[in-house]
């Protein structure tokens, strides 16, 4: 059973890596690609990284529990915490970083249409939604995750995420 989960963990890690590479490709392109498409690949990369860890931890990837789309908020912060050991960092700095990371994880999870907080937050990267009489397109929406990535510790978040993906690909390939 363990080797089966290991294989799933490796598969999710490699897919997270591929999604990350597309995300970075889209971010680098000019003329620019729509923000919703760029964020979609970031969200998918995060979700697969988290699921790789869940599988490696022994959760059955074919279970209903595994398939839900709301694991990022619950687990991404923990995963990144292990990648963010700032040699010179005070406890206060580390706590501030983790607070920002958790906030970002929450906003990234909300990019998925299945994570709408019981329809309280319908904005997502894939499907149009309604707000009053208006129909809003992801193409035209200003996502708060973009602002957060541009604020304090946003760069560190992306760096830690990339490191976490690389580490997980390495771990699941060599174990």
């Amino acid at each position: 059973m363990r080797s089966k989960f290991q294989a799933w963990a490796r598969a999710f890690a490699r897919q997270a890596e591929a999604d990350w590479n597309i995300y970075q490709q889209l971010e680098s392109e000019t003329p620019s690609k729509p923000i919703c498409h760029r964020l979609l690949f970031l969200q998918m990369s995060c979700e697969k990284l988290v699921k790789s860890h869940l599988a490696l931890g022994g959760m059955d990837p074919e279970s209903n529990k595994f398939r839900v789309h709301t694991w990022i908020k619950r687990r991404l912060g923990e995963i990144l915490k292990n990648c963010v050991v700032i040699p010179s960092g005070s406890h206060q700095l580390q706590r501030s970083v983790m607070k920002n990371f958790k906030h970002l994880a929450q906003e990234i999870e909300r990019l998925n249409p299945a994570a709408d907080d019981n329809k309280q937050r319908p904005e997502n990267c894939e499907y149009p939604w309604s707000s009053g009489d208006q129909i809003i397109l992801p193409l035209e929406h200003a996502f708060s995750a973009v602002d957060l990535l541009d604020k304090q510790h946003g760069l560190l978040f992306k760096k830690a995420l990339k490191k976490a993906i690389d580490d997980q690909v390495r771990t699941t390939t060599t174990e």
Binding site: Q24, L26, E27, S28, E29, T30, S32, K33, I35, R38, C83, V84, V85, I86, P87, S88, G89, L93, V146, L149, D150, K151, Q152, H153, L155, L156, K158, K159, A160, K162, K163
Partner: protein, 109 residues
Amino acid sequence: MTDKEKQAVELAHRHYVLEEGLEAIYQLVPTAIGLEGAKTIGLLEVNKDTIPSGVVPLFFGPTKTYPFPTLIIEMTPDEFAQMKSGDELVRLPPEWKLGDVIEKPAHAK
């Protein structure tokens, strides 16, 4: 100053204000083989409050405020010293070379 150079300085100043641990920000200049980089702003940030992880180029896509895509490489001061001393483990991608420092603005000191 071109629009791209203005954005590079604006971004660097903003980052100096946001990140207390930033010791220096350098421009990255595209090399002859980095023609694609001509459309991209490159910054190397030396930050004591970051994780040592070698050279990890990260792209930030264009936004309404900042229309040029940005590539940022962030390093610890130790990694930067290693790079300057020619350590092969901390080497810039061949498409980029180190440019001038962007000074920290007075309001960020």
